[in-house]
Assembly symmetry: C2
Homo-oligomer: 446 residues x 2
């Protein structure tokens, strides 16, 4: 029998852990190398956001490795956006049809389940090992442990799934003809908190993603199983209204009082949290090639995106699923699979990167816009009448795992043009139900 291929995965985060399961199931020897300590053993969790929106692309991958049922129990369905205005008045905007929803899930909870499941099928995790060098010629990693000693390990393949600030990608950047960009947006984010009420219940609607859209910035809230909400303030670093200006408790108190009065009432620890929690930045990373010899990037390491479509993890999980499918298709011939993988996934990664940037504007501003709301309503009707021929963009991205991101993006661009014309119709808000809706749908086929 041929010796098992030995695969190193850099990064024990969500994508690295999931990929290790896929590969161990195929019979590979898999070692996951992680810079940090084992999060299952440490109390605090360093860095990254507390909860995430898991949707169909991610769920599909979890189903394939047999973990979807277990994890869904930990998740809270969110059926739509709950928009909070300045007076605390709320309006609910469903994400899709009845029964379509996204899931609020704990990042660390999910990560721990994936790591343990991986270990149970023989994946070896090497924690507290920093990658200090990647040898692309010999497929070797130089690993530095906490005692500062450096060990060189050789593998058959190395997968860089080590996130937005990937050490593997960083090594790749030093090689010739590697296209690379990292671009920050002007907004940062700060996580805040609404606790459960005294009896452990939710203080706002549980099954929604709450948004306080304020045009140039926003506050959002996702529910946690313990009855609390994790809030995230997306706010400019500098400028007229910015983190820079909220330099003391009085300024923060006044800003929340004027801007998010209903949320403020539910945040007894706001001022302490605001000055204790970090202000973090938001970056889009693009690069190409993802592959050099026997070293391949995946997930955020290849395509970190901003969080506004809730697709970062889902896109990374889809990478794992796509790679596994290609291994099926090409009898585990990695040299064939890896170049196809990067060619197929790159346009999808670019598309979801742009969609995520665009969705920030939708979430913080457009959700308040009567034209936008009407457009959503008309599109929902088009989808109801012609479910296969008109699928709203958000649904394609979030609920239709078989539509590639780049197809969703291109279709969405066409839909936008068509709907802009439709919305120019005089008195459209009262007459649209009488329009020839089939004709609108047919334009998409041109």
């Amino acid at each position: 029998m041929e010796a098992k291929k030995h695969i190193a995965i850099a990064g024990a985060g969500l994508v690295g852990s999931l990929l290790s399961i896929y590969l161990a199931k195929r019979g590979y020897q898999v070692t996951v190398i992680e810079r940090r300590s084992d999060m299952r053993k440490s109390k605090g969790y360093e860095g990254r956001s507390i909860n995430l929106a898991l949707s169909n692309r991610g769920i599909r991958a979890l189903e394939e490795v047999g973990l979807a049922e277990e994890l869904k129990k930990e998740a809270i369905p969110m059926h739509g956006r709950m928009i909070h205005d300045l007076k605390g008045k709320m309006q609910f905007q469903p994400y899709g049809k009845e029964g379509q929803y996204i899931n609020s899930i704990s990042r660390s909870g999910l990560n721990k389940v994936l790591m343990t499941a991986a270990e149970n099928i023989g994946v070896r995790f090497q924690f507290e090992n920093r990658i200090v060098h990647v040898n692309f010629e010999t497929t070797e990693l130089s690993l530095q442990s906490t005692d500062q000693k450096i060990q060189i390990e050789k593998y058959d393949w190395i997968i860089g799934a080590d996130g937005a600030f990937s050490a593997v990608r960083h090594a790749l950047q030093m090689t010739d003809r590697f296209d690379y960009s990292q671009e920050y947006i002007h907004h940062g984010y700060k996580e805040l908190h609404i606790p459960a009420n005294s009896s452990g219940g939710f203080q706002m609607e549980k099954n929604a993603l709450h948004i306080w859209p304020r045009e140039s910035f926003m506050l959002i809230a996702l529910p946690n199983p313990d009855g609390s909400f994790t809030l995230t303030l997306f706010f400019p670093f500098n400028g007229e209204q910015s983190f820079e200006k909220l330099a003391n408790k009085e300024a923060v108190q006044e800003f929340f009082q004027n801007t998010f009065p209903d949320a403020l009432q539910l945040m007894p620890d706001l001022l302490q949290e605001f000055f204790h929690n970090p202000t973090s930045s938001l970056v889009t990373v693009k690069c190409f090639p993802w592959l050099k010899n026997n070293v391949l990037l995946m997930g955020d390491a290849a395509h970190a995106i901003v969080p506004f479509y809730g697709q970062g993890m889902n896109a990374g999980f889809e990478d794992c699923r796509a790679f596994n499918q290609l291994l099926d298709l090409h009898q585990d011939d990695w040299s064939t699979v890896a170049p196809i993988f990067q060619q197929e996934r790159k346009p999808n990664a670019d598309a979801i990167a742009q969609l995520a940037l665009d969705n920030f504007i939708e979430m913080r501003d457009l959700v308040n816009d009567p034209d936008f709301i009407l457009r959503k309503k008309i599109e929902a009707k088009l989808h109801e009448l012609y479910p296969a021929d008109w699928i709203p963009l958000y649904s394609m991205v979030t609920f239709y795992k078989d539509i590639p991101y780049h197809v969703a993006y291109e279709t969405g661009q066409k839909q936008k043009k068509i709907m802009e014309e439709v919305l120019k119709t005089p008195n459209i808000e009262s007459t649209w139900q009488q329009m020839d809706l089939k004709k609108i749908v047919d334009q998409l086929k041109k």
Copy 2:
């Protein structure tokens, strides 16, 4: 008397050496740190192209430091492009008006003159010192010498003028909220050579930049003072016609015979050179901010561009001149000057980066296009009649040092639109001299 500020300049290349002169003349203590050995003492010269096109922006800076006259003696004026067709037929296209020209100059010759001039006024050069760490909080550099020892040095300011693969910029990239991109084009380049004839004379027209434009690629030649020409083949790395395909002597010989027959006749060492000389890549680097605390980027380190406008060095020299002017204006208050410098220079850097990419298409393809040639002719006439109101783009960039690159770029975009309309006029090639040329010029003012 206040102690002199100590300025470290990373990189003893063209920009670093010139900047050291500017700063030493202002009375600063200047140390230039260079990874390589002193090029004045070593025989071979590692890396980078052999000759460069020096034009007005660069000359202006050399004038300011009193080196222009000395250096012009080493330079060969090139008054225009000499276009070589497939049959070796030549056509001359002037760059500008009578008396306007660019200068072929030796990179290493120029660099050596700058270094020696700097040393003569007290600049200290530390060769064979690699920057392994930049401390942005304390303005310290960790320098590794050839004996592997690391020394930490503290300065008042650090200027990263260490080129396209800048170590200082690389350190900056590891800090938060640093936008960065490196993008390679599909073409690489290889340097080749036409020797002087047996009596030391030029084998082609001396005072021209020779181009063999072949649509998707090109060969160019610049004259050297010894009667030889340095040729550069800009050619795709991969594909139908590419370096990859020219894998043996027969293929190279046949390709040159079919594509550059007249040049081939003058290249006795082609085959040896072709396989001895490296195939190098071409990158555009953009980043922002250029400044963090007391560390500032300049030249290629801040904005590496492709070579097709001959402006890389000129843009870097203009950085030095602009910085020096700002020090004049703000009484050497660096904390005021540095942020203004990056704000003012960034749009110019972005503009010349785009112009350089655009000019590759002009050089390799458009120079053969009758419409393009006619357009040049009409624009030359417009400039002759209305010298202040219509300055062709190439002239703005190359001969008008007081027009910022970004203004040249924007004006060029407008000119292009106007000329595209003009060229649609029926029988324009025979009628343009009868047109109301004033009307064309006036459109630019709108």
